[in-house]
Point group: C2
Chain length 248, copies 2
DNA sequence: TAATCGTCGATTGTCGACACTTTAATCTTG
DNA sequence: CAAGATTAAAGTGTCGACAATCGACGATTA
């Protein structure tokens, strides 16, 4: 029980923060594809499913709107953002921009502990590759890159990365598996870490460009292929259970 | 009267978007210093002053929280974010990162029209310098940099810049006048534009680093000087009228 | 038959109310 | 008189309700 810091610092994490919880639930539903792009998020429906009133649902939706996962259309409601290719490009463009920066910063602030964390996470990536669990692979990949931002030690930068990552996970989750060879994922991180350890900004940005750029092209290609099916106007559906499947 | 585009695109601007209006009013109150850092934003108070209920006020506050202007403390309310030096550094660090990127992008996408826009905005900066209106000077300065982001043509990047700019304007607004010589502001933009016109990424980033870095150091210095007075816990006050002054 | 208009259900935007928590003001008590 | 306990006031978190609006469907008309 910390002595309750001054009222202003960083968004204090509430133990029973209803709005935050709802926002997380909605986010998960979106990134896991249960609320596909273009689908409508009906306030009353979500509220009923979660057993709460509409007020906190609206606030949560507003947060996700500002984050970019939802789009608000006045008097019509909230919709899951479509995956138009332009959005993908804009997200990856920004991602590339901040990840270059974060990587260079991380190199500056790199300690032996933080270096070990990165190393170990690459090991995890390798081990995960054997599991044949694409979702898990994406998750561990995300963790590695998030580590870089943590080491960079700029909270705002980290928050921004989390926001972008949420949208990218939605994209990747919908695409399914991203790489044919999951070990490829693990391997491609090694030269990046090596560059960060070496500490030359040019080498680092070059490797980030290659690494992220690769994902960008790959995702862009897949989104272009799947373009019609992705982002079609869809029926409202349950956020607690899969739209298609056994349950309900 | 456009044919009402598809439900998902960019946040459609509503003509009577109460939440958006409230968010703007609150933002103005904050950046203009009527709600000083650390002060509490009482929902009922704001609602009463604006003649609305608390619901839209809460939603607006949540948006401003995600944007970084407010900090939510559960069961205690919203507070205007303090200007701790760490926040300043983090904001400027991110600003520098994305402005480098935007400037290089803008150079790539530069047309004769967009170049003229930048040129003309520098002229405006010069003319504004004669007016001895620091707030206006800051505003026109902001417009120039925003132009760069518009030319860069990445909507997400632009939104991010706007968010950061809001906080920076709060800082600068509280400091008062930033430069001793307002013409200095106008002049320092010229080599930046020249670099963008020339189009070499290295030159561009170097000039951005110099330009933004200068502001960063300046603001940092001033914030450090004013550190105790800035961000003190303050009494709640009206958002419609100045806390100190003639009216009320 | 195709297009337009009007009606009706569904959903949003906003409000006032109430319970619970925090903050302050007041009252003890050593 | 100071420090802690007690009480009152203020404020937040959440809810249910109501009017305004939107979209779909069907009736009407050319």
């Amino acid at each position: 029980m910390r002595p309750m810091s001054l009222p202003v610092g960083l968004p204090a994490l509430a133990d029973s923060d209803l709005v935050g919880q709802i926002a997380r639930i909605l986010m998960q539903a979106i990134v896991q594809g249960r609320l596909p792009p273009g689908s409508k998020v009906v306030e009353a429906g979500v509220a009923r499913e979660l057993g709460v009133s509409r007020a906190p649902v609206r606030e949560a939706a507003r947060l996700l709107e500002k984050q970019g996962l939802l789009v608000a259309s006045p008097r019509r409601g909230f919709f899951v953002r479509k995956l138009e290719i332009r959005n993908i490009d804009e997200i990856y463009d920004l991602r590339l921009c901040i990840e270059r920066h974060a990587s260079v910063l991380a190199a500056k602030r790199l300690s032996s502990e933080s270096r070990d964390l990165l190393r170990r996470q690459i090991d995890v990536l390798h081990r995960t590759a054997d599991l044949d669990d694409p979702a898990r692979q994406v998750e561990e990949d995300y963790r590695f890159h998030r580590l870089i931002f943590e080491i960079a030690d700029n909270r705002r930068l980290l928050r921004l990365f989390d926001d972008l990552a949420a949208e990218l996970r939605m994209v990747i989750g919908l695409i399914g598996r991203l790489y044919d060879d999951p070990h490829e994922i693990a391997r491609t991180h090694e030269p990046l870490l090596a560059a960060i350890e070496a500490g030359y900004p040019e080498r680092i940005t070059a490797h980030v460009d290659y690494h992220i750029g690769h994902a960008w092209r790959e995702v862009g290609r897949l989104v272009r292929e799947l373009s019609p099916p992705l982002g079609n106007p869809t029926e409202p559906s349950s956020i607690l259970f899969p739209t298609v499947g056994v349950s309900v």
